[in-house]
Symmetry: C2
Subunit: 381 residues, 2 copies
């Protein structure tokens, strides 16, 4: 086990009707909030009404910033920063999925910064402070509700990059599984794939794989994410399955699943970000294509040991090849694409995708060259 | 899954040589520290030298409060509070195992309180503030390094009671597995049993056992605690096993292992506290006696389902009876006693032990009567 630091100050309110508790929490941070949300699903599932009511009751005035896109874009982040400044917002409240929370984080940091917010994403500046953030999560997937990272796409340059800072941990996140009961199956699938991707990146790129407790936690989270998703697909109204999935997704990327591995890399994410930056594809769907392709590459270059161990513990499989097939079978069961062709991305685009991915790979300090990335992508034809 | 709140602000520094990083962390909280430790093992394993050097380097003056006993006693806590006040201590630094950290927490709260510190333990007062606490853990067992509770024994009344408050979370805890390499096998055993007890209390007393993700995490922590202990018993110099055990013990009682179960009770702990309050027995050894006895009672009153599920996932057993035997076998393998007679506690004392336990059971609001506790204890004859 390598040395690590674990620190996660986000307070989680979990369960039925917890969104109504956000008002008093938020009011402690200020009286003027920017309310960030997406395409309006929070108006259908009731979260908008509950949230605005509890904020109003506590005397928190709200400026609305709706319209966050899946894969949030820089221009909309900049517009949010402008609104936050013009209205002297002292805090941010985000209601929605990971895209909404990520955009809210970027706005929270950008509002406190003299330069352009993209500086944080392209490595020109570090985030030292941010407006306090409160979130109501409605889509389990990204883990953004309990971590310090965010991802934004610069639509001018087609770069989907990330920023990270301890200042970005949400103060309080409210996770009500009932708000996820109406999610369409496609979003359940994307969330499940994204969660699994977060669970496995550290496990398969560990510098030191002799971290028994973290291996066990990774297996545990993978098993519960898979079994909960299967229960949800069978019965979308299964509250306990929704709850288990929601908490699994949060724990998947709150730091626990990488403790002691030492310098893990997010190679699957680095490659996928190019797919969702270049094509109209959900992050989860992109990952379902990249992961099996990367596993095949991992098997050739690193050998079968980790795939065998993971497969035995999670799928009951015996060989590395069976483990990769079990991943593909699970992704297919959720309805996710597992090949580029299934997402209508032509194989001829592989060099272009790999070239785009190299930007993030260099920025994140990974040691991969473009031919290797093209080879991985070829496994996904 | 029931509603829950998860909040754990303690920052963990984990790995080789992390104790030397505590000076700069502590210095941010003040320049006068009370250094709490036990019988002097920290002078043998080097922690004392490293800690006093890093504190001195950062200009933090130290008042020493050594001599904390295993199962820390109220009179020594009161003496520590007096010292902290007389020397205007602004922070507490604890170096040792759970007993040292628990006493440090009681001192941290007592130093900020006008009344007698025992008020917090017998339910007369709530802890609202405490001096900031920094810890260097040298014995994985109690989880106190990353939670908000502490246990102190009032030696005048033979009451081993607990107190809890968000103000008691350590600010920073340094966990260096190398400091545990010299632990005697008896302390390895006690730590392993205590850790397992923390892992299982919520699982077996859950109001709602349909919390798949938490079940999986409980299984994961139990498996890693058991396998790491077996590695340590075989090769005490196995750093990765020590590290895995240390992190497992911390995660066992930091809140994770009970999320969503709803109103869990610490019945094994409530009964055991009487053993270590009345007899000269380590908490871990007491738990190794109580747990199998309580499992037998649980099997009769609640049925085999949870014991079967746990046993299959952790021990590979098939029946509830086999699961209980697997626990006993593991405890025996570590050298812990599993019957009252093995700890030289006469069966004739059972009514007295049960009567003592009722104090804590009532204080913790559990619904058990003395005859039931006597019945459980009779299973341990």
């Amino acid at each position: 086990m390598r040395n690590f630091t674990f620190s996660n100050p986000t307070r989680i309110l979990f369960g039925r009707a917890v969104v109504a508790k956000l008002g008093p929490e938020a009011a402690r941070a200020g009286k003027k909030a920017l309310l960030v949300y997406g395409g309006g699903s929070i108006k259908k599932n009731g979260v908008y009404d509950v949230l605005t009511a509890t904020l109003a009751k506590e005397g928190v005035a709200v400026t609305e910033h709706p319209g966050v896109k899946p894969n949030p874009v820089l221009s909309h982040v900049r517009a949010g920063i402008k609104k936050a400044r013009e209205n002297d917002c002292e805090l941010i409240v985000a209601a929605g999925g990971g895209s909404v929370i990520d955009e809210a984080k970027a706005i929270a940091a950008g509002a406190k910064y003299g330069g352009d917010v993209w500086d944080f994403f392209c490595g020109k500046a570090e985030i030292r402070e941010a407006l306090p953030l409160f979130t109501a999560l409605t889509l389990p997937a990204t883990g953004s509700e309990m971590n310090s990272g965010c991802v934004v796409t610069n639509e001018e340059t087609a770069q989907k990059y990330s920023a990270q800072s301890a200042a970005l941990f949400p103060r309080v996140s409210a996770l009500d599984p009932e708000t996820t009961l109406t999610l369409p199956p496609r979003q359940v699938a994307n969330g499940a794939v994204d969660t699994l991707a977060h669970i496995i990146e550290g496990y398969f790129t560990a510098k030191d794989p002799d971290a028994a407790v973290t291996d066990e936690i990774v297996h545990a989270l993978a098993r519960s994410a898979i079994s909960s998703t299967e229960r949800i697909l069978k019965d979308p109204s299964d509250y306990n399955a929704r709850a288990s999935m929601m908490w699994s997704a949060t724990l998947a990327l709150n730091g626990l699943a990488a403790c002691g591995y030492g310098g893990v890399t997010f190679i699957n994410h680095a490659i996928e970000h190019s797919l969702s930056a270049l094509y109209d594809i959900a992050h989860g769907a992109g990952l379902a294509i990249i992961m099996p392709a990367w596993f095949k590459h991992h098997l050739k270059t690193a050998g079968p040991a980790r795939l065998e161990k993971f497969g035995e513990a999670v799928f009951g499989t015996r060989t590395a090849e069976e483990t990769i097939r079990a991943f593909e079978d699970f992704f297919r069961k959720t309805g996710a694409p597992v090949r580029l062709s299934e997402a209508k991305i032509p194989a001829a685009d592989i060099p272009r995708i790999a070239e785009n991915a190299m930007g993030l790979i260099r920025l994140w300090g990974m040691k991969h060259e473009q031919p290797e990335i093209e080879k991985i992508l070829s496994n996904a034809k």
